[in-house]
């Protein structure tokens, strides 16, 4: 992978106050993540991995240091641009699913597209597409609380994919799931990475998942203590019996046909202009266009 990193983190530190006590959540973290990698941040709770993830998502600013997403410094973005960053480049999956309880499944999945001012018809089409991919089509009008945890997480994954982001951030996505559902979710994440070459960042304290990673960042006390490259990252297919067909069926190419545009499965350098420094000040309208093209 001899190209520019999709995420470049320089000397990143984060401190915050818990009452009167200053907590050093991250200390001088520097790392690079490349397009199409499956990355695992591994460590016990409180090691700073969730803080790191929220900073990549632009949910909180660094104390010192910088985060560059395809060369664009998040610190230079205002709150609207950060929202756009999360909407178009980042897909987040949480331990607690974080579906909006007052909306049904389709509404939840299509919500990021609503923020992107995409018409209801197109949103629903896209959402239904993703529902098929995560195998939840028949639940499209259910409320989240009518679904099991595993089902909810699959909906959440569909939502994270709806705007076709570059990077998927999954923070303990299986933490609240039984092992069967956890397997389903992991299978989905792995195939997302393998089949559509999407950059996936998984945060976990479960060592079982290290085998899927291209690289593992071991974290402790706010520092990356070890980086482990894994030349033979396991694909889920090898583990599960029925998973092969499922994984095969999962391809974002299907969607790209429906959306009648070339799917940005992987971001070749040619796609870079969209994120080039010249564009951050694009107007809302331009932003929409860009998103529609996506």
């Amino acid at each position: 992978m001899a190209k520019a990193p999709v995420i470049k983190i320089n000397n990143l530190s984060k401190k915050f106050m818990l009452g009167d006590i200053e907590v050093q959540a991250l200390q001088s973290v520097s790392l690079e993540i490349y397009s199409g990698e499956f990355i695992v941040f591994f460590g016990v709770s409180g090691c700073g991995k969730s803080t790191l993830m929220s900073m990549i998502a632009g949910l909180q600013p660094p104390s010192t240091g910088s985060i560059l997403i395809r060369g664009e410094d998040l610190a230079k973005l205002d709150s609207n641009e950060l929202a756009q960053h999360r909407r178009t480049k980042i897909g987040m999956v949480f331990q607690a699913f974080n579906l909006i309880q007052t909306m049904n499944v389709v509404e939840n999945i299509s919500l990021p597209l609503a923020f992107a001012r995409i018409s209801k018809g197109r949103r629903i089409k896209r959402a239904e597409n993703l529902l098929e991919i995560v195998g939840m089509s028949k639940y499209k009008n259910r409320a989240p609380n009518q679904l099991s945890g595993g089902q909810q997480q699959r909906i959440a994954i569909a939502r994270s994919l709806v705007a076709n982001p570059w990077i998927m951030l999954a923070d303990e996505p299986t933490g609240n799931l039984d092992s069967k559902s956890a397997d389903d979710v992991m299978r989905l994440l792995v195939s997302l990475n393998r089949k559509s070459k999407r950059t996936v960042i998984l945060i976990t304290h479960n060592p079982d998942y290290l085998q899927f990673a291209d690289r593992v960042f071991w974290m402790q006390d706010g520092k990356v203590i070890k980086v482990e490259a894994n030349a033979h990252a396991v694909t889920f297919n090898e583990k599960g019996k029925s998973s092969a067909s499922k994984a095969d069926s999962f391809s974002l190419d299907n969607e790209s046909k429906d959306e009648s545009k070339s799917e940005a499965l992987e971001e070749p350098p040619a796609e870079k202009p969209e994120t080039a420094p010249a564009t951050p000040k694009e107007t809302e309208n331009k932003e929409e266009e860009a998103e529609v093209k996506n």
């Binding site: 007052t102 923020f115 209801k120």
Partner: protein, 396 residues
């Protein structure tokens, strides 16, 4: 986020909390219907007063008075001719005024106005039986209630009776002139005037050769009145119009309506606090949801707009229902009062419309409810927009 999507989410949220939405909207409904009820009553009474004291024809009439003897000399047929040439003047009609005595009624000195029967409507005289003079020079008189009383007659039986009047007036040559004439009562005026008054046809008194008492000018439409009035005044005459009284009535009612409206405002203010309260609670309940929205790409603006839209929707619903209910209560009360009045008294005592809702007021009230509610939602909406997404996500 598109406005339509903001509205979808906002209305969805309101629908999911039906009881709370209903109660909050009810607050606005009470406030708005109170304002509507009170103010439309004010408008209605205003119209009623104007209707009962004047008629629309009277609003088109300019009265040209003589301030003194010198001026009165100028009120003559030549002037009438001149006034008729003013554009937009419909009718010009002069009148005489005489003092009189009546044979057989010592000390009774009614005032007699001589008017042109063809322009009877200009004087806005309401007679009991709707009768007018038979012709331009009929020796007839329409008397008012006070005169009937002083004649010791009954308002019904006096009609058709004749009285011998001794008329005194001043001629154009300043000489005092008198005239004896027998006038037949054709109708009784429906007035409350304390003076003893009679109206007779103008031509009966032609021989008196008096100056005119005044000249009434009727313009074609009410809007033209100020312009014509100006022209007449520029000719050096003083005028009076019923409009002056009208603006006094209007001013009085503007004050009354203001006070009534202020009472309603108190209710609406309480409703606004209700909206504020609802939105603040809703904000607390949905803090986590806002965190999620921001995490998946919602802008601060989108979050605040959802809240603003909810508050505005409450206001719009409250305003619309409020005006309907306020209007409905008014109508109901009107029907009841008119029914009771028709049972209790004569037909002309039925008040008719007591409530009046000008369309602009109706629209204004709904807009007002909308604005007040939106205003009440501003603070919660701003808080929603300023929530730290990470803290909001952690909030349970």
């Amino acid at each position: 986020m598109k406005i339509i999507d903001v509205l979808r989410i906002a209305i969805g949220n309101l629908m999911r909390n039906k009881l709370r939405t209903f109660l909050t909207v009810s607050g606005v409904v009470v406030g708005i219907s109170t304002i509507v009820f009170l103010v439309t009553l004010g408008f209605g009474l205003q119209k009623l007063v104007i209707r009962k004291t004047t008629n629309l024809e009277a609003l088109k009439v300019i009265t040209l008075n003589s301030k003194n003897k010198e001026e009165s000399k100028n009120l003559n047929a030549t002037l009438v001719k001149k006034l008729q040439d003013i554009p937009n003047v419909d009718v010009v009609t002069p009148s005489y005024y005489f003092s009189a005595s009546i044979d057989g009624y010592e000390g009774l000195a009614p005032a007699i106005y001589a008017i042109e029967p063809s322009h009877f409507e200009v004087y806005d005289l309401k007679t009991k039986n709707g009768k007018q003079f038979t012709d331009e020079s009929a020796k007839e008189i329409i008397v008012n209630k006070k005169l009937v009383d002083d004649l010791k007659e009954d308002q019904n039986t006096i009609i058709g009776k004749s009285f011998k009047f001794n008329i005194t007036g001043i001629g154009q040559d300043d000489s005092t002139k008198t005239m004896d004439v027998e006038l037949k009562v054709v109708d009784v005026l429906n007035d409350e005037s304390p003076g003893k008054i009679g109206y007779s046809p103008f031509k009966v008194f032609a021989d008196m050769n008096s100056n005119y008492y005044n000249i009434k000018i009727k313009v074609k439409t009410q809007e033209q009145l100020p312009e014509v009035k100006k022209i007449i005044e520029s000719m050096g005459f003083s005028t009076s119009v019923i409009k002056n009284q009208l603006s006094a009535i209007n001013l009085a009612f503007a004050i009354i309506n203001g006070i009534l409206g202020a009472f309603g405002m108190v209710a609406l203010f309480v409703a606004a606090i209700g909206i504020f309260n609802t939105m603040t609670i809703s904000l607390l309940e949905r803090t986590h949801e806002i965190g999620v929205m921001k995490a998946i790409g919602g802008r601060d603006k989108d979050c605040s707009r959802i809240f603003t839209a909810e508050a505005a929707t409450i206001g719009l619903m409250g305003g619309t229902f409020g005006i309907t209910i306020g209007w409905g209560i008014g109508r109901l009360l009107e029907v009841i009062i008119n029914y009771l009045a028709s049972k209790a008294g004569p037909a002309d005592q039925i008040p008719g419309h007591l409530f009046y809702t000008p369309p602009i007021f109706a629209i204004g009230v709904v807009v007002f409810a909308f604005l007040v509610s939106t205003f009440a939602g501003i603070w919660p909406a701003r808080r929603a927009s300023r929530l730290n997404p990470l803290e909001a996500l952690r909030y349970e």
